[in-house]
């Protein structure tokens, strides 16, 4: 019974925690410019994340070491520098975007400029990490994030042709602007398959004390959480396709997204959109700040746990404190949040090989995984992901130049 409750909580966390500034922006832009045609990118992103999260959760449960631990221990410091530096740079950019997302939500709600919200948001996020526990951070934010289900309600209220939505789940050639189409596809993939997500997930498995008895919890949680969460991102794309595309509205700023739910839900739609943007971005702010601290602490062997008092793991707690403050600064200075989000999503997608490729090796290492090494299906999925991630790396920068807008 307790395990079932744990699974249910894990699934809810997956759903409520899926949307954030990147997936909102990229799905909305995708829908606004290409209708349902980029649905396949959302689906591919969710399935890919499901594979990576399941693998990293299994790795942690079986070996009692996180993904970052294993990257350092199995590959040594010279290789580990790559995921460390790349992971840090990309995560810092995404963290700034998330703080920006909350700030913009508050600007739209109150009329007070978003720059002025950066420090109060950073302070609140820091306070919750300083005083809170891992389950408070992970579950609390995700529970509140269930407000994002409003996008499913909104999509249903707009009565889309579901067969057309379904057709969009298969890749098709765009009718126009091929470079922009593929740029948005890569951005959507980057928004879904963020390395901080599965690194955070494997740290969470250790924080929650998972063992080999929890392997099925891991499988169900990662599958259902990402399928349903990805479904919500798809609903954002559907709503954007039905609201923005007919009106030829290109999403160039978050403020334009404010009306996304009003045709379906009236004025309440605006309120729900702000709540979704603010809450999901705030939850992700907490996660990424912790993920950055986990990356450094685990890579360098410091004491770490969100369940410990800050003085028990000073380097870990000072790290998340410092990064939250650091990442609030660009927002304080008024940087274009949507522009920052777009760049960070493409960089995230391009950074995948440094973690995905070594994961193929780790998940086949009997010294690490024992009997739980990858089977044929898991290997095919992970290798396909590794190949896809290398292809994205090669394409990312040309696409940024040609289709970045």
């Amino acid at each position: 019974m307790k395990k079932i409750a744990e699974v249910a909580l894990g699934v809810i966390t997956g759903i409520g925690g899926f949307l954030e500034v990147g997936s909102l922006a990229t799905s909305a832009q995708g829908g606004a410019e290409f209708g349902f045609q980029l649905g396949w990118a959302v689906l591919l992103g969710s399935v890919s994340l499901m594979v990576l999260m399941e693998a990293s959760g299994r790795l942690a449960a079986v070996s009692n070491r996180t993904l970052v631990d294993q990257l350092r221990e199995r590959f040594g410091i010279r290789f580990f520098l790559a995921p460390l530096v790349v992971g840090l740079v990309v995560s810092l950019l995404v963290l700034s975007s998330e703080i920006g997302g909350v700030s913009l939500a508050l600007q739209m709600a109150t009329g007070v400029r978003f720059q002025l919200w950066a420090l109060p948001i950073a302070f609140l996020a820091w306070l919750l990490l300083w005083r809170g526990t891992f389950s408070l951070v992970e579950n609390g934010a995700a529970m509140l994030g269930l407000v994002s289900i409003v996008f499913a309600v909104g999509a249903a209220a707009l009565h889309p042709r579901w067969t057309s939505v379904g057709a969009g789940l298969l890749p098709t050639r765009p009718a126009h602007d091929t470079a922009r189409y593929w740029y948005l596809a890569v951005s959507i993939l980057g928004a879904s398959i963020s390395p901080y997500l599965y690194m955070f997930y494997s740290s969470g498995a250790i924080e929650d004390g998972w063992t080999t008895e929890d392997l099925w919890v891991n499988r169900v949680t990662s599958a259902l959480g990402n399928i349903f969460g990805g479904g919500l991102a798809l609903m954002v794309l559907v709503v954007a396709a039905l609201v923005f595309l007919p009106r030829h509205i290109h999403v160039d700023a978050y403020e334009q997204m404010g009306i996304i739910l009003t045709p379906a839900l009236g004025h309440q739609g605006f309120v729900f959109f702000l709540a979704t943007l603010g809450i999901t971005c705030f939850g992700t702010t907490l996660e990424i700040a912790l993920a950055i601290a986990y990356l450094l602490a685990q890579g360098l062997g410091w004491q770490w746990s969100e369940n410990m008092r800050p003085s028990q793991d000073s380097r870990f707690s000072v790290t998340y404190t410092a990064v939250i403050l650091l990442c609030a600064i660009p927002i304080l200075l008024g940087v274009n949040v949507l522009g920052l989000t777009n760049i960070s999503m493409v960089l995230t997608a391009a950074s995948l090989p440094v973690t995905v490729v070594p994961m193929v090796v780790l998940m086949n290492d009997r010294d690490v995984m024992g009997k739980s090494v990858n089977g044929l299906v898991a290997n095919l999925a992970l290798i396909a992901l590794a190949v896809m991630s290398c292809a994205i790396l090669l394409a990312a920068f040309p696409l940024q130049l040609l289709g970045g807008g």
Partner: protein, 126 residues
């Protein structure tokens, strides 16, 4: 007789002390070359400058430069290999981490930053 793999099992492994407090990783390992005798495994090294040397000369130079700017000294912890008790998912050492340099930065941050912020100190778990 089954031996231990110094690179696979010890190098880069998580180090924990008697109380299972994490105290860094085995950033370096020292062997003592002796004439006519097998090399003796002398010590485990912990420290950023050790890591920097492994990355390359440029990293060593950068690390020394940063320390000079901060007027800080490089803290390398040398643990005699005889202190290694268990080699498993972590390397357990028969010592108290507080008696070494390994937690110097941790302690400094605790004394000068964390404990000055409300909620920083207290019982070990929240």
């Amino acid at each position: 007789m089954k031996g231990i793999c110094l690179v696979h099992d010890v190098l880069d492994a998580q180090l924990v002390d008697r109380t299972r407090q994490k105290m860094g990783r085995a950033d370096g390992l020292v062997i003592e070359i002796r004439d006519g005798q097998p090399p003796r495994v002398a010590a485990v090294l912990v420290g950023g400058s050790i890591l920097a040397e492994r990355v390359g000369r440029w990293m060593s130079a950068l690390s020394s430069g940063v320390l000079r700017i901060l007027h800080a000294e490089s803290a390398v912890t040398r643990v005699p290999f005889e202190r290694v008790r268990v080699i498993g998912s972590c390397v357990e050492l028969d010592l108290d981490a507080g008696t070494t340099n390994a937690l110097r930065t941790e302690k400094w941050l605790d004394d000068h930053v964390v404990c000055r912020i409300p909620g920083g100190a207290g019982a070990e778990r929240k």
